[in-house]
């Protein structure tokens, strides 16, 4: 079983590498070896880097999220993350105008946005877990309600925008891998490496936490503390990805589902690396097919969300809310 796991992990990683190489070199219009050729390869490398970060964040983040919330349906987006991103973006355009927003693009804005989102998550978890009725269901319910509140707020502000401002805003609210911020990539990668290392060190604790509160406490794990740490780390990952390419609701769900299917068991020693590999290969292959075979780069998020949403619905109908 161990060897078959290793073979699968290697196989999927090789797929990801092949897809990455294909994205970099397939159909380059400039003559091979010329300066233009390498410029194009370089710009494509930014896309590949972005995809790797986004896939890692959503794949690993969702697997960890599933472990601590003891379910396989909910994704971090349900904690109001996507909605928070939308309300921040809409608020920026609403209060400062489209011109100011376009001018302020850069590392600072991304950092501020990430910090805001993590702070929001930490406050929410901190508050909810310090109360007497600290339960995960309450937390999730509050997440859903806050998410709805944020969405309504965004919709309200969007109604008051001029059509041109609304147009600029809409372009920002859909994720776009091709136009992610280059300056931000190394930082995003660094955060991923750090968070990944912390999670990897805690992988056995995550196994215990996924057995539920009572068993975890009986096994000597400080359950509440571990859950909060894990959720904050997930918040960091998702906010990195969201700041980079915008909201992706179903990507994490699809990657996690595939990971569980491929690995079979739930040990995090196996699911964490596999989630990263599966995430990378899924997103790289999807990007290659859509961008280089169908020339539909702008549609990538829409199609991932469409496919992911359908899989999500199918899963719900087949397995129920468990």
């Amino acid at each position: 079983m161990r060897s078959s796991y290793r073979a699968r992990l290697i196989g999927i990683s090789v797929l990801a590498i092949l897809a990455a190489v294909a994205i970099l070199f397939y159909g380059n219009p400039a003559p091979a070896g010329s300066r233009g050729y390498w410029t194009i390869v370089e710009s494509r490398m930014v896309s590949v880097g972005t995809i790797l970060i986004v896939a890692f964040c959503h794949g690993v983040g969702t697997v960890v999220f599933h472990a601590v919330t003891n379910n396989r349906i909910l994704t971090p987006s349900i904690l109001g993350f996507d909605a928070l991103y939308r309300v921040i973006q809409t608020g920026l355009v609403f209060f400062f105008g489209a011109g100011a927003v376009a001018a302020s693009d850069g590392l600072l804005k991304v950092v501020v946005q990430s910090v805001l989102m993590v702070a929001f998550a930490t406050l929410l978890y901190g508050w909810l877990f310090s109360g007497t009725h600290a339960s995960l269901h309450v937390l999730l319910l509050v997440g859903v309600v806050l998410g709805m509140g944020f969405s309504s707020l965004s919709t309200f502000m969007q109604r008051l925008l001029t059509p041109s401002e609304f147009d600029i805003l809409t372009a920002r609210l859909f994720g776009h891998i091709s136009v992610s911020n280059v300056a931000y990539l190394p930082w995003g990668a660094l955060v991923c490496v750090i968070v990944g290392a912390i999670l990897w060190r805690r992988r056995h604790v995550l196994d215990v936490v996924s057995l539920g509160r009572e068993t975890a406490i009986s096994l000597g794990v400080a359950y509440r503390r571990e859950v909060v740490i894990a959720l904050v780390l997930v918040a960091v990952l998702i906010s990195v990805s969201t700041s980079l390419v915008g909201p992706m609701t179903f990507l994490g769900f699809v990657v996690a589902l595939l990971t569980y299917q491929i690995v079979g068991s739930s040990e995090h020693t196996r699911t964490l690396p596999m989630a990263a590999a599966v995430g990378a290969s899924t997103l790289l292959i999807a990007y290659f097919i859509l961008r280089h075979l169908f020339y539909a780069a702008g549609l990538i998020n829409v199609i991932i969300e469409l496919v992911g949403g359908l899989v999500f619905l199918g899963y719900l109908l087949r397995k129920g809310l468990r």
């Binding site: 599933h66 472990a67 003891n70 379910n71 396989r72 992988r203 056995h204 604790v205 196994d207 215990v208 996924s210 057995l211 539920g212 509160r213 009572e214 068993t215 406490i217 009986s218 096994l219 000597g220 794990v221 400080a222 569980y260 079979g264 068991s265 739930s266 040990e267 468990r322």
Partner: protein
């Protein structure tokens, strides 16, 4: 020894437990009996530090369960609740292996592997060890959880209604195995049981609770009597002898 002193617990305005004073000696099987809502599970979960009491103290061995380091406590005391729903997909062996977590912190050494083998063997799970939990019957799954708790190798093992949803055969097997865990492995086993006859047949000490208080404590022969049971359960109970053990009859 488990020492409970002056323990109380309320759920909102509902009085659930106490004040309770109780000493459970080391070794043997202790059974907690009583009607629904008597506070048996509440007391057990407080002793197992899954719930905190409103006042009073609980000591297990020489550790106070509230203030002691949870990790150290996990080497002395294990508790198993009746509901164990989780979506993680594990094999029997992986689950039992997690019982070694307080000792191994996830890195299984040879003595951890040995403890897991022993626990699997003890509960006749060796042939099923590579099966996933969701492929097992209810009785087998219950056994796997008990194996996990035994693999933890704690002096004290608390089990909340381990016979729930088990048929006759599996219930008897489970009680026999718990008895053997006490006799052969030297564990102190504390169980909440609904069927007083299992307490009568297997327990050394029986604790009868009513309305959050302890009504009677003593050897099975002293507690499983018509007078005590009729008072505790509030329904006429007769006790007959079978193979030198008292058996309660309460169906009429």
């Amino acid at each position: 020894m488990i020492t409970v002193s002056n323990l109380t617990k309320r759920y909102g305005s509902v009085h659930a437990l106490g004040p309770v004073d109780l000493e459970i000696p080391r070794g043997g099987v202790t059974a907690l009996i009583g009607p629904n809502g008597a506070g048996k599970s509440t007391m057990l979960t407080i002793i197992g530090r899954l719930l905190s009491g409103d006042s009073g103290r609980v000591e297990v061995g020489d550790l106070d369960v509230v203030t002691a380091d949870s990790r150290e406590l996990a080497k002395k005391l294990a508790i198993l609740r009746q509901e164990n729903h989780f979506v993680a997909r594990l094999t029997v062996r992986q689950l039992v292996g997690l019982g070694r977590f307080p000792h191994s912190r996830g890195r299984m050494r040879p003595d951890d592997v040995e403890a897991v083998d022993l626990a699997l063997e003890f509960l006749d799970l060796t042939p099923l060890q590579d099966r996933f939990l969701d492929e097992l019957s209810g009785g087998q799954r219950q056994r796997a959880y008990v194996a996990m708790v035994l693999a933890q190798q704690t002096d004290y093992v608390l089990l909340d209604e381990p016979l729930n949803n088990l048929d006759m055969r599996h219930a008897v097997t489970m009680m026999r195995q718990l008895r053997r865990a006490a006799d052969e492995l030297g564990r102190t086993v504390v169980v909440v049981v609904h069927d007083v006859n299992f307490a009568a047949a297997y327990a050394d000490l029986v604790v009868a609770m009513v309305d959050g208080r302890i009504a009677h404590v003593g050897p099975a022969r002293e507690v499983i009597t018509p007078y005590v049971l009729t008072e505790v359960f509030g329904t006429p109970v007769d006790v007959i002898e079978h193979r030198d053990r008292p058996v309660a009859v309460y169906y009429h």
